[in-house]
Structure formats: structure tokens, C-alpha cells
């Protein structure tokens, strides 16, 4: 059971990471957030100290998806304390704010950057999940600028690693 959860969390992190790359290219608000991040900055999200992880890197105007490599050099590391804390957030069942308030995650690094990352995550959730889901975890769901299908296509197929 636990292994299934870890597997699910791994896939969800992959999806979230690549969707953040997609949104940074397709959504003007996500673009504006990422624009002010320092070039080359790495952002990591992981489950437990040894669970699945994903790392993003800002390059020029874009976000690159680095998989699980480069955590040690990340300027911001968000760690869910365990997989059962991570899954509800990654699957859109619990808000990041709530997970944070319950101290189910830790944060290493600059809180200013963390808040910007959270705003990008909220935008991404508005594309990944239908309104039925997002309305339960957000008081105001951001309007989509492009279609869900376009973000999904880019998330699943575009070469965000390069």
C-alpha cells in the first residue's frame, strides 16, 4: 500500500513539475512570477528525506525539469514530512496553505521565493484539475488563460528537460 502511494506521489510530482514548466511558458501570470526568479535558481520538492523528488531550474525565460537530480544545489527545498502528507496536496484534495498550517511540510530557503512558487502552484492546479476540485481548495480559483488541453499537452509531451 505504502509503495503504491510512493509510486503515485512520484507520478504526481512528475506531472506537477512539468506542468509548472508548461505554465511558465503558457500563462502570463506564471511567466511574470518566474521572470523575477534569479537565473539558474533551482527549486526542489520532495517527499520525506528519501522519497521521490523533483527539481526545477530557471533558465532564461523558461523553467527546466531536471527530474530528481540537483536537490543538493537547490536554493529552495520544500519537503513533505511523509507520503501521506504529500498525496492530498499533489492530487488537489488539500490546499498547500492547509498542509503548511498543519506543519506537514518543511521549507529550506528564502520564504519570498517560496511564496512565488506557491502562487505558480495555484495557477498550475487551476489547469490540472477541473473547477469542481479546485473550488474546494481555493477561495478564488484563477481563471484559465489557455485551455486545460493545451497545458496538458505541453506538460505531457514538450521537452521541458532541455
Amino acid at each position: 500500500m505504502k509503495q503504491m502511494k510512493v509510486l503515485l506521489a512520484r507520478s504526481a510530482l512528475w506531472l506537477l513539475g512539468r506542468a509548472m514548466c508548461a505554465c511558465a511558458a503558457l500563462d502570463s501570470r506564471a511567466q511574470a512570477e518566474v521572470r523575477v526568479w534569479e537565473d539558474g535558481v533551482r527549486i526542489a520538492m520532495r517527499v520525506g528525506p528519501a522519497g521521490p523528488a523533483m527539481v526545477l531550474e530557471k533558465r532564461g525565460e523558461r523553467l527546466r525539469y531536471l527530474g530528481a537530480t540537483g536537490i543538493d544545489t537547490a536554493y529552495l527545498v520544500i519537503t513533505f514530512k511523509h507520503v501521506d502528507a504529500a498525496l492530498p496536496v499533489l492530487l488537489g484534495m488539500t490546499s498547500v496553505a492547509r498542509c503548511w498550517a498543519e506543519r506537514r511540510m518543511t521549507m529550506k530557503g528564502d520564504p519570498t521565493l517560496a511564496m512565488s512558487v506557491v502562487r505558480v502552484m495555484l495557477l498550475v492546479e487551476a489547469y490540472l484539475f477541473p473547477g469542481l476540485i479546485t473550488r474546494r481548495i481555493m477561495q478564488r480559483v484563477p481563471a484559465r488563460e489557455v485551455s486545460m488541453a493545451r497545458v496538458y499537452l505541453s506538460t505531457l509531451l514538450a521537452a521541458h528537460g532541455r
Binding site: 498547500v96 492547509r98 498550517a101 518543511t106 520564504p111
Partner: protein, 394 residues
């Protein structure tokens, strides 16, 4: 109302009242220390407080290994590093922080430096990432009644070169001992008494209403507000009123315990930004912003604000106010309290009174939405909402 999940931690031993300082030596000995470093600032030494602490330790088995007085009102990583150098050079084994928010934050920075055995605390910035590290007895003697830092798990230290306000949040930053001695606050001027007291009130109100409120933090917040209602006006009117001073010291501490566990929200998010961008003193920003943020939060928090009318105004007013009007009445009570303090000692009521201009607002709003406290406010707020609140408070 019990949250689905919460955590609560407050291991700080509290010494409160007359001759509290004289017990520090005994407590330090119990903690296994004999050579503390004293951290304070030259202003407090100037008014004789450092002397009183030194006198209280005289003749005990405790010897001050060093006295570090060079802590400015806005502490930075350089001050922490300098304190660390002296701490190590003088063979100290514990430390005593005597002062307000900046001295205590510096002490917490020093705590990280020594316990983590590092030369660069920046790599430890973040939330819940510190390991326990080396044991280091840590005593705090607050000289204002407001920040509650003697019982909070957070420290903010500037890194001027990197342009970062480093934030450290960890249960391992909590002191071992908080010493509330009336001699330490009697000489605080009325204006600062009022402003720091309002900071404590905001801690209690936000602690009672923010996302991770729980029955334990509620109890602390509630009692803090009751104490503040009665004793803040008294302490402002007569600084020598020892009972009022001790009540405020305890209220500040209790509000600190409350918000250290339930966290603060939008008043602090915007208030920190006013401090960062326009150099507004923390307590002044709290005083000015509190009623405006309460109005903003009202639709989400009507029930909780309504309950707070009882500690804020007392049972007579609470009972005489129809249930549906209690929340707005609570806001009116807060406004009236501020107005009276303003008349008594010149506490500012508007942002323009403390030098904020219309042109500053966009920068303040942009900074505020990057403050972590925003995530813990029960009603979400973005750039537009924060800007509207700022315009009303200007």
C-alpha cells in the same frame, strides 16, 4: 472546535514577578551552565538595566563570560557573526538575551551559529529544518511587553548584501527560560508601551483566528486579550504601576505562545512589508492595520470576532450586544482602544502619520504578498486586496 490536526509546543520555563532576575543563577546552574554571555544594547545599558542584571548574578556561581552590547535596532548577520566570535573566544557555555525583538532575534541567530557549529547561518534559513544540535542554555529577559519573542520559535535576521530577510522557524530556537521582572519594563516610555502592547494584542487576535488555531493556543490568546484590555491603558497612563506592567509582560508572553503555535496572518504580512519598505515601527504598523484587516476578514471570521468581544470589552458589553452585532462591535472596540491610546500618548492611527506615502503602497503590497504569514490568514488575499487595505489605512 478541534482542528483535524495540529501541533503545539511550549517548553519555556517562565519566571515571573519580583526578584525573578535573582533566580537566573540558580536556573542556569540547573541547566548545567556556569559562564553565560550577556547580549543587549547600549541604550539598555545606558538606562541601567544591564547593571541590574549583573547585580542579580553577583555572588552566585555564575560568571558572565562576556557582555556584548553592540546590537542595533535592526540586527544583521554581521552582528550575529561578531557575537559568535566573542562567544567562542571567551569560552562561554550559555547566553542571556536582555532586550526587545532585535536583541532576542540576534540571540536566536547566535543560538543557530553555536548549536549547529557553523560559520554561516544562512544555509539554515527556512522552516522546521534545524536539528537539535549542541546543547546551549538560553535565557531571555524581555525589556518590552509586546513581541513575545521569549516564547516564539521564529527569528528574522537581515542579510544586507544578499538583500534577504532571513527567516528561521524551528522549535529548537525556543529559549529555556523567560524571565519577566518588573524592573525591566517600568522605565519604558508610554508611547513604546502602547505600541508594543498593541503588537501583543495583534498576536492574540491573529493567534485566535489564524489557520492553525487550536484549543491550546486559544486559551493563551484569550487570556492575553483579557489582560491587555485592563492593563495596557494603565501601563500607558502610569509606567510605575507594577501590577499593570507584570500583567502586560504576561499578556505579551501568552500572546507569543498563542501565535508561535497558530501563527499570524494578514496584519503581520502587511505590517512586515510596511517595516521593510517604509521603515514603519512594527507596533505602529500593527496598531494602524489591525482594524482594517479585521474589516477585510469580517465575512470569514464573524463568528470568532464575535466571541472575542467578550475578552476585548468585558462581560457587560458582550451581554448587551446582540449576537449578530458582536463581530462589528469587536472591531469598534479595537478602534476605540487605539483612539484612546492615541490621545494618551500619540500612538499613530494612519500610515501617513508614520511617513508612508501613496507612492510607497505598490512596493509595500508587492512585499506583503511574498510574506509567509499570508498563507495562514483564513481569508485569501492577493495584490489587489492588500492594496485596498493599504489605501484605507493611509
Amino acid at each position: 472546535m478541534i482542528p483535524q490536526y495540529f501541533e503545539f509546543y511550549n517548553p519555556v520555563k517562565i519566571l515571573s514577578g519580583s526578584l525573578a532576575l535573582e533566580n537566573i543563577a540558580f536556573e542556569l546552574k540547573q541547566l548545567g551552565a556556569s559562564r553565560p554571555m550577556l547580549l543587549t544594547n547600549t541604550m539598555l545599558t545606558g538606562v541601567g538595566l544591564t547593571r541590574i542584571v549583573q547585580e542579580a548574578l553577583r555572588g552566585s556561581e555564575i560568571t558572565l563570560g562576556a557582555v556584548f552590547e553592540e546590537i542595533p535596532p535592526d540586527s544583521s548577520i554581521h552582528v550575529v557573526n561578531e557575537a559568535g566570535r566573542i562567544f567562542r573566544a571567551s569560552g562561554c557555555d550559555s547566553f542571556i538575551a536582555l532586550g526587545g525583538g532585535s536583541v532576542i532575534d540576534t540571540a536566536k541567530g547566535l543560538h543557530i551559529l553555536i548549536t549547529q557549529e557553523t560559520d554561516d547561518i544562512m544555509q539554515y534559513m527556512g522552516a522546521d529544518i534545524l536539528r537539535a544540535g549542541k546543547r546551549l542554555p538560553f535565557v531571555v529577559i524581555p525589556t518590552t511587553a509586546g513581541t513575545g519573542s521569549e516564547v516564539t520559535l521564529v527569528a528574522v535576521i537581515a542579510h544586507p548584501e544578499r538583500h534577504v530577510k532571513m527567516e528561521f522557524t524551528s522549535y529548537h530556537l525556543l529559549p529555556d527560560l523567560a524571565v519577566l521582572d518588573p524592573r525591566m519594563t517600568v522605565s519604558l516610555p508610554p508611547r513604546i508601551t502602547a505600541s508594543t502592547g498593541m503588537d501583543a494584542l495583534v498576536h492574540a487576535i491573529e493567534g485566535y483566528t489564524c489557520n492553525q488555531k487550536n484549543p491550546l493556543s486559544d486559551a493563551y490568546a484569550w487570556s492575553a486579550i483579557e489582560l491587555i484590555r485592563e492593563h495596557l491603558p494603565r501601563a500607558v497612563a502610569n509606567g510605575k504601576d507594577i501590577e499593570a506592567r507584570m500583567a502586560m509582560a504576561n499578556a505579551s508572553l501568552m500572546a507569543g505562545v498563542a501565535f508561535s503555535n497558530s501563527m499570524v496572518g494578514l496584519v503581520h504580512a502587511i505590517g512586515h512589508a510596511c517595516g521593510g519598505v517604509s521603515k514603519v515601527a512594527h507596533g505602529d504598523a500593527m496598531t494602524i492595520l489591525l482594524p482594517h484587516v479585521m474589516v477585510y476578514n469580517l465575512d470569514m471570521l464573524a463568528d470568532l470576532y464575535g466571541r472575542l468581544l467578550l475578552p476585548l470589552a468585558g462581560p457587560e458589553v458582550y451581554a448587551a450586544t446582540p449576537a449578530a452585532e458582536r463581530a462589528t462591535k469587536a472591531i469598534a472596540v479595537v478602534r476605540e482602544m487605539t483612539r484612546q491610546l492615541s490621545q494618551a500618548c500619540g500612538l499613530p492611527m494612519r500610515l501617513r502619520d508614520v511617513g508612508v506615502t501613496e507612492a510607497d503602497l505598490p512596493a509595500i503590497a508587492r512585499t506583503a504578498i511574498n510574506d509567509g504569514a499570508l498563507l495562514l490568514n483564513p481569508k485569501e488575499a492577493g495584490l489587489n486586496e492588500v492594496t485596498l487595505i493599504l489605501q484605507k489605512a493611509l
